[in-house]
């Protein structure tokens, strides 16, 4: 057991307003995640609000800033952070709701219209032969809809009209594997000044993405696709 000091951002509109930081000292073992700590603290303070659901980096709800960096709290091991003081704050570039909770509505208003199917062909174990009835093995798309990439993106921070890395990465996935979706309509959605051409390619999004979606490279993929499409039309 190691004693760690947690500095937690607190905000309740009209109640804890302006926000403040609450400090807690807590004993953690080598297994505990930041989410485990929040769950422990909530037993004594039911007013502490944060989003969580799956506890294994799969649902994408528990994104927050831990020591200033975008992470999923449920897979952020406390001792691996290597600091005896840990600061926990809500994600950036999203409307603040309460404490560590931000609204995901703007995220989904950009992401959902892409209509990326949730299920994709599985690239794992290609040597495995499924039964005739199954046809080919499928899996979930990698994007967890966590919003970490939007929090880290400097363009999203200054330009609310920018489509943003998650929606663009989803669009790229539809282009790669259309599954019956309308590819020309998707390309039109991203081929403009607030779409894939707005990105500065600094790759902050890919750095924080917890599930290797690599939105920065997916945006490059879209650009290359659009350029080669245009070249084809020239000749």
């Amino acid at each position: 057991m190691t004693e760690v000091t947690f500095k937690i951002f607190r905000y309740k509109p009209g109640v804890i307003d302006p926000p403040r930081y609450d400090t807690f000292k807590i004993e953690v073992d080598e297994q505990m995640s930041v989410l485990d700590v929040l769950e422990k603290l909530r037993i004594n303070d039911e007013t502490l609000t944060y989003r969580h659901s799956c506890h294994h980096g799969s649902c994408g709800t528990c994104g927050m800033l831990v020591n200033g960096k975008e992470v999923l709290a449920c897979v952020a091991n406390v001792l691996a952070l290597g600091t005896t003081e840990v600061t926990v704050e809500p994600l950036r570039n999203a409307p603040l709701v309460s404490d560590l909770v931000v609204s995901m509505e703007p995220f989904f208003n950009k992401y959902a219209p892409v209509e990326m199917p949730l299920i994709r062909q599985s690239e794992y174990l290609p040597e495995g032969k499924p039964s005739e009835e199954v046809g080919s093995y499928t899996r979930y798309e990698s994007c967890l809809e966590c919003g970490l990439c939007l929090s880290a993106c400097p363009v999203v921070a200054t330009d609310p009209a920018y489509l943003g890395p998650a929606a663009l990465a989803a669009a790229a996935r539809v282009v790669q594997e259309p599954r019956g979706q309308d590819v020309p309509a998707i390309l039109q959605m991203v081929d403009n000044a607030e779409g894939c051409w707005r990105c500065h390619s600094a790759m902050e999004c890919s750095e924080v993405c917890p599930n290797d979606v690599d939105p920065g490279s997916m945006i490059m993929y879209l650009r290359q696709h659009l350029i080669s499409d245009k070249l084809k039309h020239l000749f």
Partner: protein, 391 residues
């Protein structure tokens, strides 16, 4: 007269499916959930869309519910499941001794299956333990524990349900022997207020006895936690199960780019106090390696615990394995002479729709409505619609 108003306590799979059912039947619904939706047990479950095969010998009522709901969910929630089927494999001689009873159970419960050769099993799943002695394919699938309930919630919300998160029930409002609403604490505004209701449904899962106690009644809830371990790598594409009586670490479920090994089972009094049993992590690795030897060295993504809302026998359970996975709807008017109050609990995430149908039948009758259930046919909105209230 306006529509009757029902308050549902708990925003897990059960509350979500019930809100959907009741709104379709013309009831005004408010869900109150103390945290984020699915932040109780639901979000943390293993992710198995049960075919029922796991319960085909010991718990046939539950097995039949599972296969029926499995088939309905495929229709009403298309695009939500990894439908790669499941494989039950015998690894040891003890497993083999279960084989005949297992097939007989599948027959009795009308669960479609296909016995395949061990050679074929290894072709389907190259990482499977080569010691495999027998293999049976069943229509298991995998789901995302949060996104299926979100589809129920999104559709209910679209049909007028109000979903209040970070809103904790602190008291049931009683008029003599009748429940007339709930008192809640809003953890965002830090305000306490009352919500009136024609009827209150307790869908608080492992917490349902705590809510029942607020009406002075008791439900035999036996919170039974289990540990799950997610490891990096998708080591199998089908759900792999040991062909034996449900035990520890006998399922490996592929999910996205991970594999999830589960689970163990014990019992607790308070579902908020789930100490993580470290030796259970080792047990998951050890037992998981019986199915897929390679998971032994797979790095861990996370280990966590969640509490099953099992309905206890009054005599008391020790591991939770002996308790049925079926559900129960308690009509507290019949049972305890408390009017306007119903509890729905037990069951599985897979059977939430069916649980909701049974409960909604009881609820609408009490409200004097005569409207049939439509949730077997209505296709659910995408989960993303839940977040887009303004659209």
């Amino acid at each position: 007269m306006g529509k009757p108003h029902v308050v549902i306590v708990g925003g897990g799979a059960t509350g979500a499916a019930l809100a959907h059912d009741l709104t379709l039947r013309g009831v005004r619904v408010t869900i109150v959930e103390r945290g984020e939706v699915t932040s109780g047990t639901t979000g943390r479950h293993h992710g198995l869309l049960h075919s029922g095969a796991r319960y085909a010998v010991k718990d046939q009522e539950s097995a039949k519910e599972c296969i029926q709901e499995n088939m309905i969910l495929r229709k009403i929630a298309p695009g939500t499941f990894e439908l790669n089927n499941g494989l039950f494999v015998a690894i040891t001689d003890e497993d083999m001794a279960y084989h005949d009873a297992f097939l007989a159970g599948l027959e009795t419960c009308a669960i479609p299956y296909q016995e395949i050769t061990t050679q074929e099993a290894l072709q389907r799943e190259p990482n499977l333990n080569p010691a495999v002695k027998a293999a049976v394919e069943v229509p298991d699938g995998t789901m995302d524990a949060m996104r299926l309930p979100l589809r129920f919630l999104a559709t209910a919300q679209h049909n007028g349900a109000v979903i209040k998160t970070y809103t904790q029930v602190t008291k049931l409002l009683m008029k003599d022997k009748t429940v007339v609403g709930v008192r809640v604490r809003d953890h965002v505004t830090e305000k306490t207020y009352d919500i009136g209701a024609d009827l209150v449904v307790n869908a608080a899962g492992a917490w349902s006895d705590k809510i029942a106690a607020m009406a002075g009644v008791h439900v035999p809830m036996q919170p039974s936690p289990g540990v799950l371990v997610a490891v990096y790598g998708r080591w199998n594409n089908m759900v792999l199960n040991r062909m034996h009586r449900s035990g520890d670490g006998d399922i490996i479920l592929p999910q996205r780019t991970l594999s999830v090994i589960g689970t163990s089972s014990w019992v607790v009094k308070d579902p908020d106090q789930l100490e993580m049993k470290k030796e259970h992590i080792e047990l998951m690795y050890k037992m998981g390696a019986m199915l897929v030897p390679a998971v032994k060295n797979a790095p861990m993504r996370a280990a966590w615990a969640a509490a099953r809302p099992l309905i206890g026998s009054e005599s008391g359970a020790t591991t939770g394995r002996e308790l049925s996975r079926t559900f129960k709807c308690f009509d507290h008017e019949d049972r305890d002479n408390v009017i306007g109050f119903v509890t729905i609990t037990g069951g599985k995430a897979t059977t939430a729709r069916g649980m909701a149908e049974v409960t909604a039948n009881v609820v609408v009758e009490k409200l004097g409505l005569d409207v049939a259930c439509r949730t077997r046919e209505v296709v659910l909105l995408p989960h993303t619609a839940y977040y887009r209230r303004g659209v």
